[in-house]
């Protein structure tokens, strides 16, 4: 006989009260980052020592704006998920932990949006 309530079983959240959402998002972003990060390394190699004019030409090339934007979105989503676990594992003071968890999320969004604006500015700006 199980002592779990029917409601508890239906919710399927377990003792962490979190379900598989975090774990799953981490895997989905990881799958996206396999081709994206390989593309980024390849691009970074071809961009060694480039000046801004050359960088602008490269960013305007078909696919570059799209893949660079997708890369920073997947990167900062994945980074936020990973750093969240690091904070949860090592920061035991509840107040500090919540502060860092919120900071982590806000900073990740800030960096992702800031990167995309910069990409658009370089590609379409002067």
């Amino acid at each position: 006989m199980s002592l779990r309530t029917d409601l508890g079983r239906v919710r399927g959240l377990g003792s962490a009260k979190d379900g598989t959402a975090h774990w799953w998002s981490q895997r989905v972003t990881a799958v996206a980052l396999i081709p994206l990060s390989l593309w980024f390394i390849y691009s970074a190699v071809t961009l060694v020592g480039i000046d801004r004019a050359g960088f602008k030409v490269w960013l305007n090339a078909p696919g570059s704006i799209l893949l660079m934007s997708l890369f920073v979105i997947a990167l900062f989503y994945h980074m936020q998920l990973g750093l969240q676990v690091v904070v949860e594992d090592y920061v035991h003071n509840e107040r500090n932990k919540i502060f860092l968890l919120v900071l982590n999320k806000l900073v990740a969004v800030f960096f992702a949006v800031s990167s995309i604006i910069a990409i658009i500015k370089v590609a379409f700006g002067g």
Partner: protein, 132 residues
């Protein structure tokens, strides 16, 4: 929950480091290191958005020996985290969990990360035509 003055169980430091435990903590350490690298990426993109002078300065910093050292570290960290991440996905699928396989794939990941890093840097220096 009050834990009072209860004795603590022996922690990680008492165990002899093994390939499995070292690679495991390296996955987390490279992840945190790559988060710092992501900061550099944001700075680099924003420097390009700010203007040619700001971009030149950032490029000069990255071409400096210290910048190169950082980039080299981030290259290896990215390849390691990527390869070991793929290893994790096989584990998630329930494959490669036997101890000999865990050691074999562990060494494979380590060797692949080093080889890929050296390949990327050789290609990078090739882009410069060996000028530095």
């Amino acid at each position: 929950m009050s834990t009072g003055n209860r004795p603590l169980s022996p922690h990680l430091q008492v165990y002899k480091p093994q390939l499995t435990s070292v690679l495991s903590i390296l996955h987390r350490m490279t992840g945190v290191g790559l988060a710092v690298g992501a900061l550099m990426l944001v700075y680099w993109l924003n420097a390009a958005a700010y203007g040619p002078e700001a971009f030149e300065r950032t490029q000069a910093f990255l071409a400096h020996w210290f910048g190169k050292l950082l980039l080299f570290g981030w290259t290896w960290a990215l390849f390691y985290h990527l390869c070991n991440g793929i290893r994790h996905m096989f584990w998630d699928a329930g494959k490669g969990l036997e101890l000999p396989q865990v050691y074999l794939t562990g060494w494979l990941v380590y060797i692949a990360s080093v080889v890929l890093t050296l390949l990327a840097w050789t290609a990078g220096y090739g882009m410069l035509g060996g000028s530095y």
